[in-house]
């Protein structure tokens, strides 16, 4: 019955607030992803060179070398965890998240605001001392927990009106984006060098799947070990793994459909069309055919499409 009521007098959502909702979710999700990546890298790194891929994933090579001479654990950790000037650090992300939450404060639940506010103070209080190798895991766990607490509190307290749909779209966009980035930087090296040293390879595949937070699920699906095609399929085309690109795109589609049906938002068209096209490209068969030739070009395209999808949502629905 409540659905009928919503149809009769749909509550308006200010376009700018919809954009803030998308960004709020993206920034919180970014913290989660970054913490995962740092944690896994720390656990599986053998030398400082292993820290390079993180910079590559986030497109931060130039920014990083403007301020630091060498890629080392200490420098990368500082760059991402305590450096407020580096645009992709957790500091920058939590600041941006809080600013968006502040904009949305009349719409999000009090519990959500409270948690972001406390999480923000905790992250702002981080110092170089927290970056010591023996404390990194605890720090990453704190960050992941904070981001997950946000997700959980939203699930339990956020009124599911338009604003909620936009938040969910932001979260899924960020997940899809992060997963393609992760694959893009790791997959090609791993797939080409595969077979030279099985133990090292297994460790690296393991780290890749773990960085996506999918280790146990992957094991259950593929108990025999790592095959490049199966890893790619798992991260791209799986429909059950929470960070698989396909799953996230279909969630976005569901939310857009809801926005169109329940709130009569005509601006959903472009985004839905793009999702349709992407869906036809991103199939298990397509991934299986592509793997032997290399995924790079394909992943570039998917990444560009995800970025374009974000723009479709912002331009079409959030007033640009």
């Amino acid at each position: 019955m409540s659905e009928t009521a919503a149809m009769a007098t749909p509550m308006h959502l200010i376009a700018r607030h919809a954009a803030s909702a998308v960004w709020l979710a993206r920034y919180i999700e970014r913290i989660d992803n970054l913490a995962r990546l740092l944690d896994v890298t720390k656990t599986h790194s053998h030398d400082d060179g292993d820290w390079l891929p993180i910079l590559r994933i986030n497109g931060d090579i130039t920014d990083f070398f403007e301020r630091y001479a060498e890629v080392t654990h200490d420098n990368v950790a500082r760059f991402y965890l305590v450096d407020a000037d580096s645009p992709n650090s957790v500091q920058a992300a939590i600041n941006a998240a809080k600013e968006n939450a502040r904009t949305l404060r009349a719409l999000i639940s009090t519990e959500m605001w409270l948690q972001i506010n406390v999480f923000h103070s905790r992250i702002r209080a981080l110092t170089d001392a927290d970056l010591a190798p023996d404390r990194m895991s605890a720090l990453c766990a704190m960050l992941k927990e904070g981001a997950q607490a946000h997700v959980g509190i939203s699930e339990g307290t956020f009124y599911r009106d338009q604003c909620w749909h936009f938040t969910m779209i932001g979260r899924y966009l960020e997940r899809a984006d992060q997963t393609t980035r992760l694959l893009d930087t790791q997959f090609s090296t791993l797939a080409t060098h595969s077979g030279t040293d099985p133990d090292v390879d297994a460790g690296k595949w393991h780290a890749l799947v773990r960085a996506a937070g999918g280790y146990h699920a992957y094991r259950r699906e593929h108990p025999h070990g790592y095959r490049p095609a199966e890893v790619a399929d798992f991260l791209l085309a799986n429909t059950a793994f929470p960070r698989a690109v396909s799953l996230n795109l279909s969630q976005i589609e569901w939310h857009l459909t809801q926005l169109r049906a329940r709130y009569h938002l005509r601006g959903c068209g472009r985004a839905l069309e793009r999702l349709d096209d992407l869906g036809s490209v991103l199939t298990r068969d397509a991934v299986a055919t592509l793997v032997p030739r290399g995924l790079s070009t394909f992943l570039d395209k998917v990444q560009r499409e995800i970025a374009a999808l974000h723009d479709d949502v912002i331009v079409g629905l959030c007033g640009g």
Binding site: T9, A106, H264, R266
Partner: protein, 498 residues
């Protein structure tokens, strides 16, 4: 761990008051000021007696612990205001003192009727000066004081507002002297703030002091959002079935942003900024995810100057172009109306008793504080002669800035102020230094008397309703009289007894 904690708490609450920890009020002395809790010389009140007995049972360590909890809670909730000084902006909480300020039922009746009377007079005055100007023609208020006032807005001349209501939200600052008499210190008729603290302070009391409050008949303050929304719907253009109300804020960097959020949420209306609104064909719309949607009433928390670059400051990026014209054509309502600043001017304030008598043929229910208008030669002479005894205020400032408190000023400060006063007398008024009433307040050295004031909030659409409560501000530093939040003041929960 949990068990130990429970035992300790029980032990504390069961400890009878002993000689050295006989509760909060032991050794408390209001020093000849009127104390809002002890009420010496007044007939006993059962609610106050019960409160005193409970406070006497409460060890100070318990109160301190709860105060720490409350402060952390406010910070975590982000119930903050922003202080701007030099180039920095800091989020601060308004310090909250747990010991409540109490207003008895007869006292409230007096305040409520007094505030309603004052709001009526203010609205009649505004209507008059923007129409016939009878009060000016009759010489009750000097014409120059009104027409030459910075708050007077020519655009409003001849323009009718629904129900003749200009001041939809009014905050009346009230103090009490050493005899317990209530007096109005100033009217805030533009965009008074602080009501969010009234409600949040109550929520805080309920969280940390419910054992002291239980059974006392304290009137609720949760109705504010509903009442405000109702008034804003009443003033919407006629014939609109379900008027869309919005709250217009300067944005997240405004010092009162928390209050804007609070009010939007309490009313269930969108919190917008100027860039979210657009005027087309003299109608106001908001930019939503579904396109443009009509807006019928705007509760603006933006000063007149910034409201509409077409009508006022052309450089305002915060306002909405064409808004004033849309309003003048009756397509949207704006609260408070533009041009109310002339009514809360500190010099016009001095005429309020005469304004009340003029329009209502009634005696003022709430007295004014004796006020000397320095633009008048005699008043200036008196002020200069008695500078060390008086409080001198600039007429156009708010927030407690630029005030001289004679008895607390150094010789050098007095000399500086004297020359400022001689240079621009019309900018100042002076008043006697009041012996403001006090309330027991938790300080570093125990519970001590601190000066307080009261700002009740009146909401007016068709009629006026006054929130049973108000913002009690407390001057936390010993001896100081300035209660403004920007000047180191704090606040207390205000309990109006039923």
């Amino acid at each position: 761990m949990a068990e130990t904690a429970v035992t300790q708490t029980q032990a504390q609450s069961q400890t009878p008051p002993s000689a050295d920890s006989a509760g909060l009020l032991q050794g408390y002395d209001p020093n000849g000021f009127f104390c809002e809790i002890l009420r010496r010389g007044q007939s006993p009140n059962s609610g106050l007696e019960l409160l005193c007995a409970r406070l006497a049972q409460l060890p100070i360590e318990v109160l301190r612990r709860r105060a720490v909890d409350a402060e952390r809670d406010l910070l975590e909730r982000g119930i903050t205001f922003t202080v701007y000084s030099d180039a920095t902006a800091i989020d601060r909480i308004l310090p909250f003192d747990l010991i409540p300020r109490v207003i008895t039922a007869p006292e409230w009746q007096h305040i409520e009727t007094g505030v309603i009377q004052r709001v009526r007079a203010l609205n009649l005055f505004l209507h008059d000066i923007y129409h016939e100007g009878k009060i000016l023609a009759d010489g009750v208020v000097p014409r120059e004081l009104v027409l030459g006032n910075a708050g007077y807005c020519k655009l409003m001349a001849g323009f009718d507002v629904p129900f003749g209501t200009y001041v939809h939200i009014c905050g009346t600052d009230i103090v009490r002297d050493e005899t317990g008499r209530f007096m109005v210190l100033e009217d805030n008729a533009r965009t008074p703030s602080g009501v969010s603290y009234v409600v949040e302070n109550r929520h805080m009391t309920q969280r940390v002091l419910s054992d002291v409050m239980v059974g006392l008949k304290v009137r609720g303050v949760d109705e504010y959002g509903l009442r405000l929304h109702r008034a804003l719907v009443e003033i919407a253009p006629q014939g609109v079935l379900d008027p869309q109300v919005v709250l217009l804020s300067p944005g997240i960097f405004n010092s009162a942003y928390f209050e804007h959020v609070f009010l939007a949420r309490e009313m269930g209306v969108p919190l917008v900024e100027g860039r979210d609104l657009v005027v087309e064909n003299h109608r106001v719309f908001m930019r939503t995810t579904a396109g443009l949607a009509p807006v019928h009433t705007i509760y603006r928390r933006l000063n007149d100057d910034f409201l509409d670059p077409d009508a006022f400051r052309p450089d305002s990026a915060l306002g909405v172009r064409g808004l004033v014209e849309a309003w003048r054509r009756g397509n949207v309502a704006v609260a408070n109306a533009v041009g109310t600043g002339v009514a809360d001017d500190k010099a016009v304030y001095a005429y309020m008793p005469r304004i009340i008598r003029y329009y209502l043929s009634e005696e003022p229910i709430l007295a004014n504080v004796e006020t000397h208008i320095c633009s008048e030669p005699e008043a200036l002479a008196y002020t200069l002669d008695h500078l060390a005894e008086l409080v001198v205020k600039p007429v156009a400032e708010s927030g407690g800035y630029g005030i001289l408190i004679g008895p607390h000023a150094s010789q050098a400060q007095l000399a500086t102020f004297r020359s400022r006063l001689i240079a621009d007398p019309a900018n100042y008024i002076s008043q006697p230094t009041l012996k403001l009433s006090v309330c027991p307040t938790l300080t570093d050295t125990g519970v001590a008397p601190r000066h307080i004031d009261l700002r009740p909030f009146a909401v007016t659409g068709r009629d006026t309703w006054v929130l049973p409560g108000g913002l009690t501000r407390v001057a936390l530093r010993a001896g100081t009289l300035v209660v403004n939040s920007s000047q180191g003041g704090g606040s207390k929960d205000t309990w109006v007894l039923a």
